[in-house]
């Protein structure tokens, strides 16, 4: 069965500092990996996705993530955090041959707080 682990429940960074959110997955085949962000009272917004190819993927809002098969990881990074980045971040793995459109398994999320 597929699973996702986000080891950090809460992270606090200062505005302008760099950010890395960790994600480890378990999946038997080539994974389809996603990062979503959720602001309070809102649904989930897709930040970026990895299906295949280049292991460093760029997303919206200046975020990027690197797929490392040997470490079963897909960590999210941003070089300089803005106060508006404060939100909850979810890593997810998609099953099935059609990838993104199929069942998503999410981690428990990382709550990001940004100090001004």
């Amino acid at each position: 069965a597929q699973s996702v682990t986000q080891p950090d429940i809460h992270i606090t960074v200062s505005e302008g500092a760099s950010l890395e959110l960790r994600c480890n997955y378990s999946y038997g085949a080539t994974p389809y990996l996603f990062w979503y962000v959720q602001s309070p009272g809102q649904g989930l917004q897709l930040l970026l996705k990895y299906f295949s190819g280049d292991t460093l993927v760029q997303g919206i809002k200046g975020f990027e993530a690197e797929f490392k098969r040997s470490q079963s990881s897909f960590n999210l990074r941003k070089p300089s955090v803005h106060w508006s980045d404060a939100a909850e971040y979810f890593c997810a793995v998609g099953s099935g041959v059609t990838g993104g459109g199929n069942k998503l398994t999410f981690g428990t999320g990382t709550q990001l707080k940004v100090e001004l």
Binding site: V4, F34, Y36, G41, Q42, G43, L44, Q45, L46, K49, F51, F90, A92, G96, T98, G99, G100, G101, N102, K103, L104, T105, F106, G107, T108, G109
Partner: protein, 111 residues
């Protein structure tokens, strides 16, 4: 271009009642998935509908059922509500192998 819309936004029910939640997918999308997000948790997959058929199902009891209409909109029905059904219910739509787009959810509270 409207995204995924869900109704109602909030709902309060009592134990034992039944509830229906509704979802209209993003324009051009043909697949609808439903997720349950308990407080402080990540979303959990309930089921997915494609061509008006349930294509996949997560680990949820039969009290959870759904439907997809010819216009691709979808309903989630929950019978015999339990206190533990209190959660944010998220609908997501997609087209083929493209990523899922989520609505803002329906907050269901069970008293």
């Amino acid at each position: 271009d409207a995204g995924v819309t869900q109704s109602p936004t909030h709902l309060i029910k009592t134990r034992g009642q039944q509830v229906t939640l509704r979802c209209s997918p993003k324009s051009g999308h043909d697949t609808v998935s439903w997720y349950q997000q308990a407080l402080g948790q990540g979303p959990q997959f309930i089921f997915q509908y494609y061509e008006e058929e349930e294509r996949q199902r997560g680990n949820f009891p039969d009290r959870f059922s759904g439907h997809q209409f010819p216009n691709y909109s979808s309903e989630l029905n929950v019978n015999a509500l339990l206190l533990g059904d209190s959660a944010l219910y998220l609908c997501a739509s997609s087209l083929r192998d493209q990523p899922q787009h989520f609505g803002d959810g329906t907050r269901l509270s069970i008293l």
